[in-house]
């Protein structure tokens, strides 16, 4: 395979190289991570003490910076004490891949520190519920308003200027207000997801609706369709596939608001788990939890894409993930 055919402008790669390159997209960061973790002379700025030797404050298993270790070693030589020994290591915040892989299992089986605290799967479930309700409520109002705005200039003028203003207000800024109104548990978190999603949603869906081919509406009118059936029998089915795609993108945005939302009031869900584990310096659990968010998000999106292909068979096959 020559590089010319791999780098042809706006041409699809042949299927086999295409699969390999897709695989590479995940493999590359993992390879870099492995190299940094397992090749001792690359990076590894710390020394893990194996034998404290004559240095009084060193302890076995302790991580010290290489420079400090060298100075102490020189001091020990000068003073004729036993030499400290250690191996190069990475800082605690960069666990090796195998540790994170293990954490994917162990973080589920590790009992919470206190009885009142939640297991990881309970935390994840709580996060998914927050996302679901935030996105569901947002869509419940956002989709109809978006379609109305995209169909009737009246509604477009009525909603959009204000929403255009409101969407610049960062959702987390409403955190304190949400807690004051809705309490400290799930409700204010759902509200933040709602605020983060809703205003974008109305504008995005209104724009999508406006992009519907106007000649379809004209054709329907010459076939006798009037206002209401134009809306429900032409506009709605006509924009449905694009609307579905918008919703997938918007759901992704909702996930990005999750962490901020869950810090509001009593910290909960996956965010609580992450901050808690970081406090205990279990960074392999932190990495595992962050990756779980990504995996859940990607899995849901792929599922929705597959469902979409079934629901809208007349749509041209779009390039899926």
């Amino acid at each position: 395979m020559s590089s010319a055919s791999l780098l042809a402008v706006r041409k699809k790669l042949p299927p086999r190289p295409r699969r390999w390159v897709t695989l590479l997209s995940f493999a590359l960061p993992i390879i870099i991570w492995c190299v940094v973790s397992y090749v001792p002379f690359i990076w590894h700025p710390m020394i893990q003490i194996e034998n404290k030797g004559g240095v009084s404050y060193f302890q076995e298993g302790m991580l010290v910076e290489r420079e400090l270790f060298e100075t102490e070693k020189q001091t020990a030589i000068a003073e004729g004490l036993a030499l400290p020994e250690g191996a190069r290591a990475n800082p605690i915040y960069l666990p090796a891949p195998h540790e994170v892989v293990r954490a994917f299992y162990t973080s589920f089986t590790t009992e919470p520190q206190r009885r009142s605290e939640k297991w990881l799967h309970e935390s994840l479930w709580s996060s998914i519920q927050v996302i679901f309700w935030g996105f569901f409520l947002s869509s419940l109002f956002g989709v109809p308003l978006g379609i109305l705005g995209g169909t009737y200039d009246f509604f477009s003028r009525l909603f959009e200027p204000f929403i255009e203003f409101f969407r610049y207000l960062p959702a987390p800024a409403f955190g304190a207000l949400a807690v004051a109104i809705l309490g400290i548990y799930q409700a204010p978190k759902i509200a933040i997801i709602f605020i983060g999603t809703f205003f974008q949603q109305v504008l995005v869906i209104a724009n999508t609706t406006r992009k519907l081919d106007a000649s379809l509406l004209e054709a329907a009118q010459t076939l006798g369709a009037k206002n209401k059936s134009l809306l429900f029998k032409v506009v709605v089915p006509g924009v449905l596939p694009d609307l579905y795609r918008d919703m997938r993108i918007l759901l992704g945005w909702a996930w990005t608001y999750l962490i901020v939302a869950e810090l509001i009031g009593t910290s909960s869900g996956i965010t609580w788990f992450i901050t808690q584990q970081a406090r205990y310096k279990n960074f392999e659990n932190v990495f595992a939890a962050i990756m779980m968010i990504g995996i859940i998000g990607l899995a849901i999106d792929m599922l929705l894409a597959a469902i979409g292909a079934r629901l809208f068979p007349w749509q041209k096959k779009e390039a899926e993930v």
């Binding site: 004209e218 054709a219 329907a220 010459t222 007349w314």
Partner: protein
């Protein structure tokens, strides 16, 4: 004046003359009276259509032809009710009509089938809108699909059909409402010449078999002569009626008439009207400044 020797498009054989006399005795389906259309542009008001008057009789096939910018698309969109006239009126069977409605079917150049509906559902759309029950609508839809020869594709979706098939569905869909008049805006413009020829024959066949008046926009002179009883020739800037030509080619038409004397005579006349002899100052713009773009030493063979 060597034109005198050639037969004129005005010469009609007795049978053709007789047919036109009978045609004009039929009731008027569509009457356009003193129709004007102005557009507001940043450079001021532009008159797209100026004082358009014409009548189409029941079951007549009228083609509208004219140079680009003559407003023929605007005219048909006004007839369909998709745009409103600035002044003047439009009578359908003697009644004034405004706005779009199922009494005037329309076929667009861009197919405009509903991509989310099957062929059958597309054809049923207008019937269901008019309040016919699902079962009856389905039954009628099948008849129209059969008429355009797509019975085997009733459950296909538009994206699975070729351009010609899509346009046949669009015709069936427009006809299903049993409109008084079928408006067609360059419906075969996007088709390749072979499909186009087939579609023309197909349309003639349909037109002969059902009670429908057709107003057909085209910029193709052959298409206009081949299909039309009468051709409304518009001129541009502003769009005005130049002439209403009675096509002397006898009905029923078939492709062998494309070389007949009547056909050629009509075509000569249309050429005159639509591509008038160019004026001197236009020529300089159109002439390309020709330089041989080859190297002196190249041995380039002559194309002649």
């Amino acid at each position: 004046m060597d034109d005198i020797k050639k037969p004129s498009y005005l010469d009609q054989s007795d049978s053709v003359k007789d047919r036109f006399d009978r045609l004009k005795d039929r009731p008027v389906t569509l009457e356009v009276k003193n129709l004007y259309k102005h557009f507001e542009t940043p450079k001021g008001q532009v008159t797209a259509l100026k004082n358009i008057n014409f009548k189409a009789h029941r079951r007549e096939f009228v083609c509208v032809i004219g140079p680009s910018g003559c407003g023929k698309s605007t005219l048909i969109r006004i007839l369909a009710g998709l745009e409103s006239a600035s002044s003047g009126s439009m009578l359908l069977n003697g009644n004034e009509v405004t706005g779009p409605g199922p009494d005037r079917g329309m076929v667009f150049q861009g197919y405009t089938l509903f991509p989310w509906l099957s062929v059958k559902r597309n054809v049923m759309f207008g019937l269901m809108e008019s309040g016919i029950g699902k079962v009856a609508a389905e039954e009628q839809a099948f008849q129209w699909i059969d008429l355009v020869g797509l019975s085997n594709f009733a459950d296909s979706y538009p994206h699975q059909l070729s351009g010609g098939m899509k346009q046949r569905v669009a015709i069936a869909r427009a006809l299903a409402n049993q409109p008084k008049i079928l408006l067609m805006d360059e419906p075969f413009g996007a088709l390749d010449p072979q499909t186009r020829g087939k579609m023309q024959s197909h349309l003639m066949e349909i037109w002969r078999n059902i009670d429908i008046t057709v107003v057909f926009i085209t910029h193709d002179l052959d298409e206009a002569i081949y299909l039309a009883d009468r051709i409304l020739v518009l001129k541009a800037h502003p769009g005005e009626v130049e002439e209403l030509i009675e096509v002397p080619v006898p009905q029923p038409r078939d492709p062998s008439q494309l070389l007949s004397e009547e056909f050629m005579a009509t075509k000569r006349r249309l050429e005159e009207l639509i591509h008038p002899p160019e004026e001197a100052d236009d020529v300089s713009e159109d002439k390309l400044n020709m330089v041989r773009m080859v190297h002196v030493s190249d041995d380039v063979p002559s194309v002649l």
